[in-house]
């Protein structure tokens, strides 16, 4: 039985293929089309999933779309009705799209799937799950838990913005929902917009900016914007928001409340934006904490599963773990809408078809390495065709040569095995660096990633070593939990430095691993496991043997605004367009100084800023 899940037509379209309950493949369309957050029908991602399973579209038993378009349309219409005539500017933009395209999504899907099947129209089973059902299914069914509380939080799906479900065996029983326009995700997005970042992609920048600020607006937010109840439910005062009726997230009342117009994109960041970021982060954490306590009381479960865009807020996740409300937490690595494709497929397998679910040690995500891999022969052929100069080394020599480059503080492009599913690079498509280097963060931000200097980097650490460096001793394979660098590893700032605020904090080395220690000593940890990524684990082991440090900087293999690289050519282009000094693809090792000069390019201009 093969089930193809699809998410599309909003942002981050993706496909996932489940075969007899096993997750065979999952990938986002943007990785193939090279268009960040590509919302179009994921034809290339589907083709990849089919090739991974060795089947064609005609071998698929069910196709499932991750949300219900009519329900979404109902929400739009009822919202316009409730706010008429103020919503006209939004109506004028939304309606043409709906009337021309989105209302016909079922027909569009059948036609697009038909093209892949070599038919006029796909005439097989086409199902639809609800948006938050897809998220909840993506959180619970691949988790290692037989039963758990399941919390989903995002901007908005159809009506639902937050849901609590009780997952057990092959079922999800929904216990409570919060509906649009009351949304934690949209509250966070409003501040993303107000602080000058792009909605739907800049939220993690706000999270990264928060530690530079003080939450001096938190009480203002709680007093005016959000009525947060003890059970975690909440209501947003729409007087302060513009997303129901207009084309902006915030209203003039919001600007009056916080003392000014939104920051213009790319304008210099001030302490005010940092304080705003810190404030909305604190409020979000409080809401998540209350929701979790309620979830524990309602379900009686000791484990929690999370999904939805808000579940990518790894700072809140880390605090949730530390609060000890639940014994264990599992977060879907593709917690955003892309993961809805996977959740929809799993929902059909378990809930619609009633298949038996068994759990085992570890989750069912295969480390989230669910995308394409390239055989060594193919890598060599493709790199040669791109004009690259490389040498082919043994496994042993690839590792030792990479360890040497890292120890010399070189930035290394590392492309190995299957591509990751979800927004984080986990050692399959990563740029690596020496976490001990005091200059690495600045160098990677400005010369490799071409992104804002305040942005932190995340550490990869062997699972066995995590507790020696950070204050957590749990699996965090998907970089979705934040912990603090251990006190014993910190370098204590002298008194004048302790008086620094905001961006000035950036230049103070804070620990033995300064490149991955944020200004509040926090770090977004990825634990590396031998079972799911033996090659990366081996690299860390050898790096530890050489330097005494089992931690590396791990950032996604891309520049600002670019989707993470997918194939060897993408990796080579990014390598040649940035100041990455070494590229390792499979067993091919490439040195920058040996590459043809004419293949170097001004790369960063190729992508729209995110």
């Amino acid at each position: 039985m093969r089930i193809l899940g699809i998410s599309a037509f909003y942002h981050d379209s993706a496909a996932a293929l489940v075969e007899d309950g096993r997750i065979v493949a999952a990938a986002q369309e943007e990785r193939f089309t090279r268009r960040k957050h590509d919302p179009d029908f994921p034809a290339r991602a589907i083709e990849y999933c089919l090739s991974e399973a060795g089947c064609t579209m005609n071998d698929i038993d069910h196709v499932v779309f991750y949300e219900k378009p009519f329900l979404k349309f109902e929400r739009l219409v009822e919202t316009y009705l409730a706010t008429v005539p103020h919503g006209f500017s939004s109506f004028r933009v939304a309606m043409p799209v709906w009337i021309k395209e989105k209302l016909f999504q079922k027909t569009m899907l059948r036609k697009d799937l038909g093209k892949l099947a070599g038919k006029k129209e796909w005439d097989g089973s086409l199902l639809f799950t609800e948006h938050h059902q897809s998220h909840a299914a993506s959180a619970f069914f691949p988790s290692p838990f037989a039963s758990a509380a399941v919390l989903t939080m995002d901007g908005v799906g159809e009506w639902c913005t937050t849901s609590l479900a009780h997952g057990h065996d092959n079922r999800l029983d929904f216990l409570k929902e919060v509906h649009f326009p009351h949304s934690l995700g949209l509250l966070y997005s409003a501040f993303t917009y107000y602080t000058g970042f792009k909605v739907n992609s800049g939220e993690y920048k706000v999270m990264g900016l928060a530690p530079y600020g003080r939450p001096r607006f938190a009480q203002t937010i709680l007093d005016n914007l959000i009525d947060l109840k003890e059970d975690g439910s909440f209501r947003l005062d729409q007087h302060y928001f513009g997303y129901c009726t207009g084309l902006r997230m915030t209203s003039p009342a919001f600007h009056d409340l916080f003392g000014g117009e939104p920051r213009k994109p790319e304008a210099p960041l001030t302490q005010r934006e940092m304080d705003l970021a810190a404030s909305v982060q604190v409020v979000t954490e409080e809401a998540v904490m209350r929701l979790a306590r309620f979830a524990r009381r309602q379900t009686g479960e000791k484990n929690l599963c999370l999904a939805g865009g808000v579940a990518l807020n790894c700072v809140a996740n880390g605090k949730l773990l530390k609060a000890g409300i639940f014994d264990d937490i599992w977060i879907q690595p593709a917690a955003g809408d892309a993961g809805g494709a996977l959740g929809a497929a799993l929902s059909v397998w378990y809930e619609y078809l009633g298949s038996t679910r068994t759990t085992k040690d570890g989750d069912a995500m295969s480390g989230s390495y669910l995308g394409p891999a390239f055989e060594q022969g193919e890598v060599e052929q493709r790199l040669a065709a791109a004009g690259a100069k490389f040498e082919v080394l043994s496994d042993e020599d690839v590792t030792s040569s990479t360890v040497s480059a890292l120890a010399e503080e070189k930035a290394v492009g590392w492309m190995q095995g299957r591509m990751e599913f979800g927004p984080r690079a986990l050692g399959g498509r990563s740029i690596l660096g020496d976490a001990r280097s005091p200059t690495m963060q600045k160098m990677l931000n400005l010369k490799v990633k071409y992104r804002e200097s305040f942005r932190p980097f995340a550490p990869s650490v062997r699972r066995e070593d995590v507790a020696d460096w950070f204050d957590i001793d749990k699996d965090s394979p998907y970089m979705l939990l934040v912990g603090d660098v251990l006190e014993s590893r910190r370098l204590h700032a002298n008194h004048p430095q302790e008086n620094l605020f905001g961006i000035d904090l950036l230049n103070v080395p804070r620990s033995e691993i300064p490149a991955v220690t944020h200004v509040d000593y926090s770090a977004r940890i990825q634990t590396v496991h031998r079972e799911t990524n033996p090659r990366y684990w081996e690299l860390l082991t050898r790096f530890k043997a050489r330097t005494g440090c089992p931690v590396l900087v791990n950032t996604s293999f891309n520049v600002r605004g670019e989707p993470i690289v997918c194939n060897p050519e993408d990796a080579y282009r990014c390598f040649m367009g940035t100041e990455i000094e070494r590229l390792v693809v499979g067993n091919c090792v490439l040195k920058k100084e040996e590459q043809p000069a004419h293949l170097k390019q001004d790369y960063k201009e190729n992508f729209e800023l995110d």
Binding site: F70, E74, V77, E78, Y80, L81, V84, P85, F88, F91, R92, M95, P96, W98, I99, K100, L103, F104, K106, T107
Partner: protein, 49 residues
């Protein structure tokens, strides 16, 4: 026609037949917006509402 049938079936399932006149009006306005693709239709819509 398929779409109309599906919408009717959907409203029955959701017990939201009251949406029908609103959907009809929305579709008319929406179509006007599509056809005019501009702001000229705005006063007309405000008057009707």
């Amino acid at each position: 026609m398929d779409l109309a049938r599906e919408l009717l079936s959907y409203m029955g399932h959701r017990k939201k037949y009251w949406l029908l006149p609103i959907l009809v009006m929305t579709t008319i306005f929406g179509t006007l917006v599509v056809l005019t693709q501009g702001t000229a239709v705005a006063p007309f819509i405000y008057t009707l509402f």
